[in-house]
């Protein structure tokens, strides 16, 4: 009999050509799929850099728009406005979404739960312009004017279903044994949900929140008749407010070359804003995690 080491060297070449061929094919197919996924992302980002990077300067980041036809000016007010509207949207959407997700996962095995699940799924498919109309009816008509708040509400309505469903999924992935461990220590149910189950699912829940955030950050339609847009600075939540997607839209369809360039720069800034905020949240969240946790 040959020694084990010898065996291995003898057996290896015997793996049939067919099996090695399919192995290579499968690997190549998987790698191709990865490239196909990364390609559009790289292409979009690269094209934005190419078109927009040259137009980003100090004035663009610190000045408000110039009157039509004049060269110069910037989108500082739109960057600030977008941040304000996204903050408002997150302040409303994240707690409601996570709360609803907790209800569905921990208490929602009943008819009300099914109703909420169904509603969330339908809401997820509602066109964003319709969400804008709803926010218009809810906030703009009652207040009597366009506002950052109305924009925030519109974005919140769009964030809620995504956050709700991902939170539910993530909480359901937490093994029941973990809940039982807490019950066994005499921890009340509400405390178990908040301090044990939700904490165990934190990274997944954050992914859901970030997904929803990134999705609404670029929304234009729901802001058209809620935040409306503004050529000047505004920090008040009940005043019309500029937003990057709105500004990009109106600049892109304008007849001026300078505005076209600024629209590209605005698009690049929007993407950077999203990437930076997601990375920041991930960084903060990862510091709270334990080494070796799964």
């Amino acid at each position: 009999m040959a020694s084990p080491a010898n065996n291995a060297t003898v057996i290896a070449p015997k793996v049939s050509l067919w099996r090695r061929g399919t192995d290579h094919l499968a690997t190549i197919a998987a790698v191709t799929a990865v490239i196909l996924v990364l390609l559009p992302l790289g292409a979009v980002f690269g094209y934005l850099l190419y078109k927009g990077f040259g137009s980003i300067n100090l004035a663009f980041l610190t000045k408000t728009p110039k009157p039509p036809g004049e060269v110069g000016g910037g989108m500082a007010n739109a960057i600030a406005g977008s941040s304000l509207i996204l903050l408002l949207g997150s302040l409303v959407g994240v707690p409601v979404g996570i709360g609803a997700g907790i209800y569905l996962a921990e208490y929602g095995r009943n008819r009300l739960g099914n109703l909420i699940r169904f509603t969330a799924d339908v809401l997820n498919g509602v066109p964003s312009i319709i969400v804008g109309i709803v926010a218009y009816g809810l906030v703009v008509l009652t207040q009597g004017h366009f506002s950052a708040l109305a924009g925030g509400v519109a974005l919140a309505i769009m964030m809620i279903p995504t956050i709700t469903r991902t939170t539910e999924e993530m909480l359901l992935l937490v093994p029941n044994a973990v809940r039982e461990a807490a019950y066994g220590l005499g921890v009340p149910r509400w405390r178990t949900v908040l301090s044990v189950t939700l904490r165990t699912a934190t990274s997944g829940v954050i992914t859901g929140v970030m997904l929803a955030f990134a999705r609404v950050a670029g929304e234009t339609a729901p802001l058209l008749f809620t935040a409306f847009g503004n050529q000047f600075w505004n920090w008040k939540i009940n005043q019309p407010t500029a937003a990057l997607p709105l500004q990009i839209f109106s600049y892109a369809i304008s007849p001026y070359d300078d505005w076209h360039r600024q629209a590209w720069a605005g698009a690049l800034i929007l993407i950077i804003l999203i990437v930076v905020s997601i990375s920041a949240v991930r960084f903060v969240a990862s510091r709270g995690m334990m080494k070796g946790a799964n």
């Binding site: 095995r109 093994p175 044994a177 973990v178 809940r179 039982e180 461990a181 807490a182 019950y183 066994g184 220590l185 005499g186 921890v187 009340p188 405390r191 178990t192 301090s195 044990v196 904490r199 165990t200 934190t202 995690m289 334990m290 080494k291 070796g292 946790a293 799964n294």
Partner: protein, 252 residues
Amino acid sequence: MGVGIKVEKLNAWYGKSQALYDITMQAQANHATALIGPSGCGKSTFVRCLNRMHETVPEARADGKVMVGDLSVYNGTTAVQIRRRIGMVFQKPNPFPTMSIYDNVAAGLKLNGFSDHRRLDEIVERSLTHAALWDEVKDTARKKSGASLSGGQQQRLCIARALAVEPEVLLMDEPCSALDPISTGKIEELIFQLKEKYTIVIVTHNMQQASRVAEFTGFFLLGRLIEFDKTEKIFTTPSDKRTEDYITGRFG
């Protein structure tokens, strides 16, 4: 100090199917009581009725009289109060995965609003020492997750976590079934020491384990307690034919 457990006519159901029939028995304070029987015989359900974990399963219910010391488990107390006095160790080690070793042990106190950090440090060290884990984790307790430990260490961590809330009774539901013989040996040694301070009820599939650690043994079959006696008697001269068949391996 441990307290005794008295159970009278305990019945339990999952939905419409009955899992336990009129169980009556006593577990002596500061002794270990083992429960043996084939899979599905109701021994796990029985221990889960003692600290009202049974009712966390949807549609499960139980009724009967269970006294833990002077505390009536199914009458006039909340499940949360009961579980603070009766610790539980589960079949599969279940540390909180996102908490450090330290936080795992402190969890029972912290999550119930206890926040005296110096006392907490003492309790965590004492519980880990008691569970024979302190020496292995004292340098990493705050840095490493409970889930990063080996299976045997995780189970001792779970025992430490249960001890930290200073229960009077410790329920162990097949605590060694997921562990290798060396870890099992460590936990059995631990049970010997723990008897000085706690009353222990241990469910086990391993009859040698029952005879090693427990003074009293109960044999369950199809939801009924067939025989309950001193461990020695059960394993040498059982009075019921079915017990004899089971321990000699003639069925199941």
